[in-house]
Point group: C2
Chain length 547, copies 2
């Protein structure tokens, strides 16, 4: 028997209408490529989004068309999110840190009709334009006065697209399973694969995040999304934070520590979201200034595992750390690091231990661990297996990619994350490693993440990666590739001594290779693929000695 309730589609435009209606004093503050700071209230943004939607339609945009963006975090990018999805087109955000080859691949694969870009990225497009679709329309995200003088290709001006358009629109209604967004994985192996989000998945993800964030997500608080709008929807913040009525502080292109510190300080940012590499820069600036930015009380760390030392550094300055985990294929958030209420009574060290894990699942995201034969493993904190996920916010396949789609789900319909993990009885997830980054030594697994976290807590190491190198006897042995924190580099023995309390002897790295910097992926994670390429020809010390 069916219930007798209205069926209203869950649409992205409903979040927009609600946010503006309920939170009229909400603001979007943006560092602009023009060099200044721009401010608009939610209602001002709404009127511009309506104008933009009309402008898109004037360009012939229809339901299902892919519209690409190549832009920093700023109000125009935010406006594009809602205008594009609102009229039923698909917002395809492109990561400017992709290689030219990948960029060409995804724009052609997505069959984008229009590409919106910040002035910053004009050279990137100029370099590859001949290999992009010939009928593409380009729009520079600025006003007429700031249009680059020597534009190497024809392009429209964003502000002119809006000019004279009506400030209200009847947002169309359509099936809630209609696609609204497209984001390609950074593609460490093979071509990037597209996650095609639906209105339903996006609205449910936004609600789920607003439920989970609780006290760190109160109406009127100010959120800094350092995590880019150009990748996995800035962890859903454009939706969840609008729903909750937070004000946005958009950092634009300035993501170094001093710039972030200044912006947070001046704009009274309460909660800041980003990957660990970004926070290393901010923490260095905080150390240099001897204080934290004014009003800073909460940080959400995801994208890759937050080192324990980073969590401690923030907690020591009364900044609550929420450690989250997810994937492009998960919209992207899967687990969140809000602490359970009873943890307040635990010893501080135990609390930090809990925060170093990846948190508990969000409502609507199911987790399962399986062994190599696909058998379910218990959530007992001890069993370690491959992590599979399921939920309305998880992909069922990849856009226009039958081969990858066929391999995405297991026989029960769960998505394989490629992560190896354990889950505590109280629900806390620990990502042990990417399955492909685990180091197999003498038939036993060593987590590269655990090694990195332990090494990073040594003051002489600024950043590092642990990888397995071939060894004739042990199959693989761990080594560290590290960036030194200062002039005096610690010795391998010093590092091993420092790590010894947390590891068995055979788990400790056999070598340390000093580098000036670590190669990063397009999403700001250490690229172990490139690291292995850079280390081409490297030999384990024992092999060298015997050579």
């Amino acid at each position: 028997m069916k219930g007798m309730m209205m069926h209203r589609p869950l649409l992205v435009s409903e979040i927009l209408k609600y946010g503006v209606d309920a939170h009229q004093k909400g603001e979007i503050v943006s560092v602009r490529t023009e060099g200044d700071i721009h401010r608009e209230t939610y209602p001002e943004a709404y009127r511009r989004i309506c104008q933009l939607a009309h402008g898109l339609r004037a360009q012939g945009v229809e339901l299902g068309d892919r519209i690409a963006t190549l832009a920093w975090n700023g109000y125009r990018h935010f406006e594009l999110y809602y205008a594009i999805s609102g009229i039923g087109a698909i917002c395809h955000t492109i990561n400017p840190r992709l290689s030219a080859e990948q960029l060409i691949y995804i724009v052609n694969h997505a069959e984008d009709r229009i590409l919106f870009l910040d002035t910053t990225f004009v050279p990137i497009i100029a370099a590859v334009k001949d290999q992009l679709p010939a009928d593409m329309t380009y729009v520079i995200m600025t006003d007429r006065a700031h249009m680059p003088a020597d534009l190497p290709f024809d392009a429209l001006c964003y502000e002119e697209l809006l000019e004279g358009q009506p400030e209200e629109i009847d947002w169309p209604e359509f099936d809630e399973n209609t696609a609204c967004g497209l984001c390609y994985t950074s593609g460490t192996t093979g071509n990037p694969k597209g996650a095609l989000y639906s209105h339903r998945s996006t609205v449910l993800h936004g609600m789920m995040m607003a439920v989970m964030q609780g006290s760190s997500f109160q109406e009127g608080q100010r959120v800094l999304p350092v995590v880019p709008l150009f990748h996995v929807n800035a962890w859903g913040l454009p939706y969840s934070a609008l729903l909750s009525g937070l004000s946005f502080v958009m950092p634009g292109p300035a993501l170094d520590g001093p710039s972030l510190f200044k912006l947070m300080d001046e704009e009274n940012v309460f909660t800041a979201w980003g990957v660990p590499t970004v926070w290393m820069g901010l923490l260095a600036e905080i150390k240099a200034q001897g204080r934290k930015p004014s009003g800073f009380g909460d940080v959400v760390i995801g994208g890759s595992a937050a080192p324990r030392s980073m969590i401690e550094a923030f907690e020591n300055m009364d900044v609550n750390v929420g450690h989250a985990w997810g994937m492009t294929e998960m919209s992207p958030v899967g687990t969140h690091g809000m602490m359970p209420w009873w943890s307040k009574d635990l010893p501080r060290e135990t609390q930090i231990d809990m925060k170093a894990k990846q948190g508990r699942r969000c409502f609507g995201v199911d987790l399962k661990l399986v062994d190599e034969d696909g058998n379910r493993l218990p959530h007992d904190g001890a069993a370690i297996g491959e992590l599979y996920v399921r939920g309305n916010t998880v992909v069922s396949g990849y856009f226009k990619n039958e081969e990858a789609s066929a391999k995405a789900l297991d026989a029960e319909g769960w998505f394989g994350t490629g992560d190896v993990a354990s889950i505590e009885p109280d629900g806390f997830l620990t990502i042990q490693d990417r399955a492909k980054d685990l180091i197999k030594s003498g038939g036993e697994w060593i987590s590269s993440i655990d090694l990195e976290n332990a090494a990073l807590s040594h003051p002489g190491i600024a950043n590092c990666a642990a990888i397995g190198v071939a060894h004739p006897k042990w199959d693989e042995r761990p080594i560290l590739v590290a960036v030194a924190a200062g002039e005096d580099k610690p010795t391998l023995d010093e590092i091993r001594d420092h790590m010894e309390t947390q590891f068995a002897k055979w788990q400790l790295p056999d070598d340390i290779v000093w580098v000036a910097e670590l190669p990063l992926t397009a999403t700001g994670k250490v690229s172990k693929l490139n690291l292995r390429k850079e280390l081409d020809g490297y030999q384990h010390p024992e092999l060298r000695e015997t050579a």
Copy 2:
């Protein structure tokens, strides 16, 4: 183009599984009909819910069957909610305050198969049993030791239904539009009408409430649902609070001021939810004791308009008031009273004014005001019109009632609330009155709610109702029917003088009729229908004078 995301049905069992998984230290504390206090953790409740689900199946319960409850707020009632809906049956909560005639009507209309009842309600069922379906199974919600000795009808024992059943179950999956709950309106006119909630509407309502409640709804806080589980799902608390990980303190049958005070004080209740009549009792006890219950910081008032004086009384003791509004037909919450962040800077009087309104719409609930011709009115705070609502949590018709279903929605598919309201530009809703309770005097409308609130702020009045009585010249004129607060009743002139600052002279009541108590509906609101019956033969003073 469709997104490529998993489609998982939004099911009530998902809330249960999530709550237990994520909030294992959550508790359900209940005042029992057995006379003691019972405690269970979420995981303990979960195991019993699984046993109950097996027990229901052992009784032959299938998808779509209606299973009735007649019970106070307590853990067994809570268990029934999840066990019944979880296996795809429909939880039909019955209000024990309904008349025997209404009770007989709805049980037969719903075609209930099993009726679960607290020992308290055995006499109610004994009196009407011959008019209930002959093949009905009755289950007394207690253990064998507490089964009434002289039970006047055959009945099973709740605890025996669970005994020996497995403590885990594979919750079935089905379409999210499947019905999960049934609640009849209290039916002030005609037969009660059934709102048939779906899993989708219930899950979205639960998420929506958890998003809206923000800071008053933090994991680990303790919530007291005085609002009954036997009516409109206790405003959705069994779902939203489990999702957020609050602990429940269930008051059982003891709803008087001293009992509530004691329970809140001993159980450290932070947020308490109920109708204004309940809070009158609590406030009297707080006054008598000269302090508020320990830990009490938040109260949600709905069901009927909270008098301004009540809001002030709570706020004066640092209890945050959230004034909410909704209807059985809305699952039931439509607007919520969480204050916008910027209101903190407003003068206290202005803040109280805001709290005296019904709050802002919840995400997913659309509001429109229309005039008598069905034209839309602006949300400018001035225009007053009939309020229509739309959303996934709003009924599209009534269970097995084609006549009422045909009249439920307007041509645009919106549900007519029967309330007359205005909406401020900032989104705040003010319910002016029930359309049928508005008093029409000389072609102008007077809000009975406004008159009541003004009169209630006089210390000599404990409770009151304003109604319109027939008048040959003015059509209707307002009078007050009031319960005195003490021995010395104020005069009509004193009341009029007290109200004068807020009203034009012609809007003031022409008479005051003192009564010992006001008639209440089954949901605890003043029954103006019954009041008018009680006043049968009453004449306006001018008519008496000329008689």
